[in-house]
């Protein structure tokens, strides 16, 4: 039940995020679905199965961006339209906040939190890199 609530919230927030970036109106629902999926997957892996947040972020990014690349191909739209919104729920906003709050209060856990936030960002980056295998457009260029 909780996971359905989370999915709906992530769906709405991604949909609104795409609208905030002026995405084409027809692509909004699909972007929302992908965002909901990536967030739910992240929660399932990190909270329910108890793996690390970094692994969860990596797998969620990988699955969501592969699906985004496929849908971009299918609807003949630039992949950015789907890739950017569907990764936004995974951006470690909470991590940034708790890290900074720990630094401000001089807590000893500050560096551990910083490392975790940084690793999540790195995991997202690596997920996008691996997913580019499935993309036509982002291939290394030769001149």
């Amino acid at each position: 039940m909780l996971i359905i609530k989370q999915f709906i919230l992530a769906f709405i927030s991604t949909l609104m995020f795409s609208a905030f970036f002026s995405a084409p109106k027809k692509s909004l629902p699909l972007a929302g679905l992908l965002g909901g999926l990536s967030w739910t997957l992240y929660l399932l892996i990190s909270d329910y199965f108890g793996y690390s947040k970094v692994l969860a972020a990596f797998i969620a990014t990988l699955v969501a961006s592969i699906l985004a690349e496929i849908s971009a191909k299918k609807f003949k739209k630039p992949a950015t339209i789907f890739v950017i919104p569907c990764l936004l729920p995974l951006v470690p906003g909470a991590g940034v906040y708790y890290t900074m709050s720990a630094f401000v209060n001089g807590e000893a856990t500050a560096f551990a939190k910083f490392m975790e936030t940084f690793s999540i960002a790195g995991a997202i980056a690596f997920g996008i890199m691996v997913s580019s295998v499935f993309s036509n457009s982002i291939k290394r260029k030769t001149y």
Binding site: Q6, L9, A10, I12, S13, M16, F17, S18, A19, F20, F21, S22, A23, P24, K25, S27, W39, K77, P78, T80, I81, V83, I84, P85, L87, L88, P89, V91, G93, A94, V96, Y97, Y98, T99, M100, S101, F103, V104, N105, A121, I124, A125, I128, M129, S132, S137, I138, K139, R140, K141, Y143
Partner: protein, 263 residues
């Protein structure tokens, strides 16, 4: 490898056509860059547009987030174009429209003048008004607060905080401060509003409201673009966007930290 040929010069009509085509290509590229497209896409589009007309074979293009350089060779006449591009604002619809336009332009025989008109139309395109954007930012903030596990009241309050912060940023735009000042002010406003709501007894969890309010402002799109540019080997664009993401995120965090330090 294309070889440059050397000739005595080309006719005036050809020269005019060539310049118009180059203008169209660079204009398309600059609209894309200003909408936050990846640089490899910009370079690709410019090359395709140039090669589609007049039998041009030699086109080299170099784009970074703040400038576009193009050189084309037409029967020995070498023409270059350099255009500086100002700061960008994410607009996925414009990226989609320019992408569609370049496909249409290459596959059909639309005249260059018509193309210039279409591109200017695309540049004027606004999908949503400012007030709608403020509403969207508010809903994003509210839903993220909910996703991190707050109750319903906090969600609504967070939506208000997000909306007011976004309105404040739009107000700040007219003073043309740097992006860092805007982000610092946004972080400060979010945290200050959340603190006021706690003190007045409306809200229960300040952390979650601040996190929700920060989400629409965090540069996640810059990070994504930076990585996608790095994959194609565009390291200069990638570094510049990565630095943009880090500095914007940092100034936002420092804005919030200022409030947390004061209280």
């Amino acid at each position: 490898m294309e070889e440059l040929s050397i000739s005595e010069g080309i006719s005036v009509t050809d020269n005019v056509k060539l310049r118009k085509l180059l203008t169209l290509a660079v204009l398309t590229g600059s609209v894309m860059l200003q909408s936050g497209a990846e640089t490899y896409r910009v370079e690709d589009t410019i090359k395709r547009i140039c090669k589609s007309r007049l039998g041009i074979k030699f086109v080299h293009c170099f784009a970074i987030p703040s400038a576009i350089f193009v050189s084309i060779d037409y029967e020995g006449e070498l023409i270059s174009y350099l255009k500086r591009v100002n700061s960008y604002q994410m607009n996925l619809n414009k990226i989609h429209l320019t992408n569609k336009f370049s496909r249409d332009f290459v596959s059909s025989d639309i005249s260059t003048e018509e193309g210039l008109r279409i591109i200017e139309e695309i540049d004027q395109n606004k999908s949503f008004s400012k007030n709608q954007m403020i509403l969207f930012a508010g809903i994003v903030a509210g839903t993220f607060t909910g996703m991190f596990g707050s109750n319903f009241t906090d969600m609504i309050l967070s939506a208000f905080v997000g909306g007011i912060t976004m309105k404040f940023i739009y107000y700040l735009y007219q003073f043309k401060f740097s992006a860092f000042i805007n982000n610092y002010a946004a972080g400060f406003t979010t945290a200050a509003l959340a603190y006021i709501l706690i003190k007045l007894g409306f809200a229960t969890n300040m952390d979650l409201i601040i996190i929700g309010g920060m989400m629409p402002l965090l540069p996640g799109y810059a990070l994504t673009n930076a990585i996608r540019d790095a994959i194609t080997g565009e390291y200069i664009s990638s570094l510049s966007r990565g630095l943009d993401a880090i500095l914007c995120g940092l100034s936002l965090a420092i804005g919030v930290a200022t409030v947390l330090r004061i209280i």
